[in-house]
Symmetry: C2
Subunit: 365 residues, 2 copies
């Protein structure tokens, strides 16, 4: 059983920002819950058996049922990784909002290759789409949260993709959405970058098409080394900014990435990677691939905040999308942290900027 304090101090990434002053107050609500969705029909036509959506709830739904905040998780992260978003410096006050952090399918907490129904375990896990994730989360909100209004859905990276998918699919329900270092689809270069990390992992014959008996350690380490080059900016390395993460050298940083990825399940990583690589808020029965229609359907006040040095969710792509959202505030996150600029609590300055932007977004109603 995790306490919130425990969660705060065990995030996979260093959290160098505010302490959790709500930790004791909300200890009773701290436990990750599981929404059992039963057999869940997927966009692919397959059925996810015994679908489970793991989530954390902090705060309570108010009588008006209009204080829900959703913070979907990012690639390779779990709900712990999003906790810095509700730290002391954040406007996301659990006394005011009912904050839900739903775990991405495939992340090892929600239904994933590593924990699925025995018939769908490991390599037999079905392909999951962005749309599947958001529909399942919506079902949770309908079932256990009175289909309440979403005061805000916000996320970093794949979390931001989910936020935009929410806003496009449920325009009446979502009042504000924030996409931090994310876009409404996986743009082609982003797909190519992901092809690279996938190739590095699956090059390890221990992986064995997902039917491994021991983890493909060499592949996981190669995956990590390739990924690290994409995660930050050129300036981050030039200026030795990795020292702020406690690493004295690039090699130390790369080994940290390796160790981190050795703790992840390869099939889980590849499942989420598929979701990411195919992500497109218009590729579903509602919008039939019409991105203009999907972006145009969004009614929420939107914060579109790409990182100025993000190498794969680029400013150019985010701006193109923002121009097609009726109520979008496009604000560049000026940072040399590359994609990781938007990582919750990854560095003080960018986290502060994000907190302030979210506060303005919430108060702009």
């Amino acid at each position: 059983m995790y306490t919130l304090k425990h969660l705060y101090t065990n995030t996979r990434w260093q959290n160098q920002t505010g302490q959790a002053d709500h930790e004791f107050m909300y200890e009773t609500q701290r436990v990750a819950k599981t929404y059992q969705a039963g057999d869940f029909g997927l966009q692919s036509g397959e059925t996810l058996l015994d679908a489970r959506l793991s989530y954390v709830q902090v705060g309570r739904l108010n009588p008006d049922k209009d204080n829900l905040v959703l913070l979907p998780t990012y690639y390779g992260g779990t709900h712990e990784g999003n906790l810095p978003l509700i730290g002391a410096a954040s406007a996301l006050d659990p006394e005011r909002y009912c904050i839900l952090i739903p775990n991405l399918l495939g992340n090892g907490r929600s239904s994933s290759p590593s924990n699925a129904h025995p018939d769908q375990r490991n390599a037999r896990f079905p392909k999951i789409s962005l749309y599947d994730n958001v529909r399942l989360q919506h079902q949770l909100v309908q079932t256990h949260f009175s289909d309440a209004a979403i005061a805000l859905v916000a996320g970093w990276s794949m979390g931001g993709m989910q936020a935009l998918q929410w806003a496009a699919l449920y325009p009446q329900q979502v009042h504000a959405a924030a996409s931090i270092c994310a876009t409404a689809r996986c743009w082609p270069h982003n797909q190519v970058f992901l092809e690279g990390v996938k190739a590095a992992l699956t090059c390890d014959p221990v992986w064995n098409e997902g039917n491994y008996t021991t983890p493909p350690a060499a592949g996981l380490k190669a995956f990590a080394r390739v990924y690290a080059g994409w995660a930050y900016s050129q300036a981050f390395f030039r200026n030795e900014t990795y020292r702020q993460l406690g690493h004295q050298s690039i090699e130390e940083l790369l080994r940290f990435w390796e160790e981190d990825h050795l703790q992840q399940d390869a099939n889980d990583l590849l499942s989420m990677l598929h979701t990411w690589q195919t992500a497109n808020i218009s590729c579903n029965p509602v919008f039939n691939g019409d991105m203009g229609a999907a972006l145009g359907a969004i009614q929420a006040r939107c914060l579109i905040m790409p990182g100025s040095t993000d190498l794969y969710f680029t400013k150019a792509d985010a701006e193109w999308e923002a121009n097609q959202i009726s109520n979008a505030n496009f604000t560049l996150l000026e940072s040399e942290w590359g994609h990781c600029a938007g990582g919750p609590g990854r560095n003080t300055k960018d986290t502060q900027t994000i907190h302030e932007a979210l506060e303005r977004l919430l108060n702009a109603r």
Copy 2:
């Protein structure tokens, strides 16, 4: 035996630019020659046994001994890859200049893991530095070309690094130098990108620390897939510019990269990668790591031409260096081709821009 025509039509990369109108005229000078340097002392303290520098010569040294042009090769390329630099539209006229294209050590033509003295074959091949390459080329010029004046040394990528190393080491001899999509050192992020492709290749157990008996095909393909994401820009993929290379899809492009890399020797690739990753024009006994001194030593008229969307030889790094070269012309190569913008003959527009810039550089004397 290659004819120049043969060389032109068999470049590893599609050459979509001018035809080789010099091809027949210079057929007699077409054959790659080998400079046998004997045992060659390396910067590492090791000795390269039976060192061989493979090069192509087009044109003849003039009586004044001031018309030498050097075009060192790029990573993974051979002299064939540089031939578009002396195509019809180029100022590098073999009737006027004596053009030498020296093959990088490790590229499979000059001494390399795959062709070295039996005692240094494959995994036993010694580590080669940027300095080693340029010293060996200089020895060739001394020995067979009367230590002639270098009217121009120019190159793309690692070719540009060699050009800058030439200009720093032999400031009296080098009159002009052009660095296209290159920098005077491998900057830290560039090192990290290279760590990634290296990890992808060496993740294949068939590689076996370089002691393979059959090529590590899975590793070579993974290397190619990772590399492809870095080679072009985000816009190149967004705008489907790969169609100009004859590929109808990203997957087709990636398979082309795979096929291309399957034809390369893994140890050769890793040898050149080491040279690149450690490259620094000041890391040698002349400058002892003082980059300011190395850049300050350059007297040649310099063209510093980074690509505007190059993801690893960045504009920022090149500009920082150019500011420390006394006679540098910093010109951005505006292109969405990323690093490949500078690839000889890779696309018509950028090639034309490079040809014109080289012409201005030559005529600025």
